[in-house]
């Protein structure tokens, strides 16, 4: 910049400056400990208000006591000196949000963490804490949010605007499931609008966050995703605020009439950080030393997920919170709290995971209370039958070890159940579309796979899809539209699958080798 330009800019700035007496409500730091500052004065400051220290650092008022205010320092460096002046700002903690954030990794205050410069132009300044949309602004959940994972989309479908909990012990594939869901949004299955994804990493190792971001990048999912990260090495204040920042970003897109998905990975660590802050603030400890308002903390966050009605723009915010259980105990304090807040849960089980069933979804303990209404008609049609077969298999599974001692009908159920379990297995990072899900689940539920050896089910599934996509484009289009399958379509599909099954059972004789050429 030239010197003349700087002079001109300053002159313009000074020319437009509205000079008014500055009115401020001041306080003075009286004590500092573990990121919590106590300051006297600040008689006009409110709960949740942003305050500014003399050196430019910011804080958030968490408690207003008779003689002092307790302030959470919002920076990694907590060393605020005693006696420092602090002034109220009269504003809540806010974040500038626009499309510029897409593809970026930021902290809860909107600072870029990916090493690239970030300039957020336009958009809106959104408050981290907001009241959830009221009843009159909401519309029923009626559009599916496809995860691309067969077992989820068939048995516990998720709708746009729903809150679906993912719960399970460590290393059971909770994060893998949400990563698959985010990756699947690139396909815009069933012609649905693009979903803006916000992945909120709370208290995770930096290496894990970097791996997740790299995966999004590799799979082409980063372009429509924003990562809000507060790693394990950041202060509890940042981990506490991260999900609220992620939610505020999601709300911005929802209010623009777009569909957004926010993943909180995970709310157990979020509860830990809030417990730490509450204990440092001197709030009374309750069950498991959590503060009394731990339920309200998560309910006010998750209640912000909604599907807005047409007058509100018709956007949606879907929430996928993750909770980590200890030794499979879903009746612990935080899991039961979040289960009661959400519209359903996907329960991942260690035993299933270790026995090779991945995703390790326990179909019995998993439920979706509203997503069924948003499921595509074709998938709902075929998954109903499969669900029944699966339930019967699970009740008979204990007898399967007796093998031939069982009657024929029971053996048939067990054979079919094993095929269903096999078809529900799905490798990581390979989400599939509604068409492939419908075909696979129809084949397994109606017994078309009963004759296929269990170990060849995955290969058969792949070949069926290749066969249909190459040879029956019209049939694929009908099934892939999501409409209810009529009798003719079902008959045609059954014929195509049966024909391929026959071919696999009785492969055509190989062509004889040509005689060796004469020398």
């Amino acid at each position: 910049m030239k010197a003349e330009d700087l002079v001109r800019q300053i002159e313009e700035r000074l020319g437009t400056l509205e000079v008014r007496p500055e009115v401020a409500n001041m306080g003075r730091v009286i004590s500092v400990a573990d990121g919590i500052v106590r300051a006297d004065g600040l008689s006009r400051a409110g709960y949740g208000e942003l305050v500014e220290f003399e050196d430019g650092r910011r804080g958030l008022i968490m408690n207003l006591d008779e003689d002092f205010a307790s302030i959470l320092v919002l920076s990694e460096d907590n060393s605020v000196p005693e006696g420092m002046e602090v002034r109220s700002t009269g504003t809540p903690l806010s974040l500038q949000v626009s499309d510029d954030l897409l593809g970026r990794v930021i902290d809860p205050f909107g600072t870029a963490l990916d090493g690239k410069p970030l300039s957020v132009t336009g958009g809106s300044l959104v408050a981290l804490e907001r009241i959830a949309p009221g009843v009159t602004k909401r519309a029923p959940v009626d559009a599916p949010l496809k995860t691309g994972v067969k077992v989820v989309d068939a048995l516990t479908p998720i709708g746009r605007g729903q809150r679906q909990l993912i719960v399970g012990d460590r290393n059971t594939g909770k994060t893998a499931l949400v990563i698959d869901t985010i990756i699947n949004q690139r396909s815009r299955d069933l012609g649905l609008p693009q979903v803006v994804c916000i992945y909120c990493a709370i208290g995770q190792k930096r290496g894990s966050i970097a791996r997740t971001v790299a995966k999004f990048q590799d799979e082409g999912a980063l372009g429509y995703t924003i990562v809000v990260a507060a790693s394990a090495s950041t202060p509890a204040s940042m981990q506490y605020l991260a999900p609220f920042a992620a939610c505020a970003i999601g709300e911005y897109f929802m209010e623009k009439g777009r569909d957004a998905l926010v993943v909180y990975d995970d709310l157990s660590r979020h509860a830990w950080s809030y417990r730490q802050i509450s204990l440092l603030l001197g709030r009374p400890a309750g069950r498991e030393a959590y503060p009394g308002d731990i339920f309200y903390l998560h309910s006010r966050l998750l209640e912000r997920a909604a599907r807005l009605n047409k007058a509100g723009g018709g956007g949606s915010l879907t929430a996928l919170p993750i909770i980590q259980t200890q030794a499979g105990d879903i009746s612990a304090y935080i899991p039961t709290n979040v289960i009661s807040i959400t519209d359903g849960q996907i329960y991942l089980e260690t035993d299933l995971f270790n026995s090779g069933i991945r995703p390790a979804v326990n179909a019995g303990l998993s439920v979706s209370r509203v997503g069924g209404k948003a499921q595509s008609k074709s998938l709902r049609q075929v998954s109903g039958l499969m669900r029944l077969e699966l339930a019967q298999y699970q009740s008979l599974a204990a007898f399967s070890q007796f093998g031939s001692d069982l009657d024929e009908a029971t053996q048939k159920r067990i054979v079919r159940g094993k095929r269903i379990m096999e078809i529900l297995k799905q490798p990581q990072f390979s989400p599939i579309d509604d068409l492939a899900q419908t075909v696979s689940i129809h084949a397994a539920g109606t017994g078309l796979l009963d004759e296929v050896p269990q170990e060849k089910v995955a290969e058969f599934e792949r070949r069926v899809m290749d066969h249909l996509r190459t040879g029956s484009a019209a049939l694929c289009a009908r099934i892939g539209s999501g409409a209810r399958l009529d009798d003719a379509t079902v008959k045609e599909l059954d014929a195509a699958i049966s024909e391929l099954a026959r071919t696999l059972r009785n492969p055509p004789p190989a062509a004889p080798n040509p005689p060796p050429a004469a020398r």
Binding site: R13, L14, L42
Partner: protein
């Protein structure tokens, strides 16, 4: 503590000797510290400190009494303000000085 301060200090600024001696004998060291902080804050609230770069105007008393009724007025000269006035009433500060304007401009320019 606020109640103790109210007992010890009457609205006209007089200290109740009986309450004061009781406090000095009964309160622990840490409670005395808290009491002192609350007492100082209360004294601060009852005073309006006006800092001026030059001489006070003729109607200063009247203006301050209208804005903060019932408070004692202290006036001090602070040449560092350049010009204008800075009023401190308890933990509220109204800065209408040249020094304050310049600081505000610097902050605004820093944000751009």
């Amino acid at each position: 503590m606020k109640r103790l301060v109210a007992l010890a200090l009457s609205p006209d600024g007089q200290v109740n000797d009986e309450v004061a001696s009781e406090l000095l004998s009964q309160l622990s060291r840490s409670d005395l510290k808290r009491f002192l902080a609350a007492f100082r804050l209360e004294l601060k609230k009852r005073v309006v400190l006006v800092s001026l770069a030059g001489r006070p105007g003729a109607r200063l008393d009247e203006t301050i009494a209208r804005a903060w009724p019932g408070r004692r007025l202290d006036v001090e000269t602070d040449e560092a303000l350049g010009a204008g006035v800075k009023v401190s009433a308890g933990d509220d500060i109204v800065d209408a000085s040249v020094h304050g304007y310049i600081r505000e401009i610097i902050e605004e320019l820093g944000d751009t």
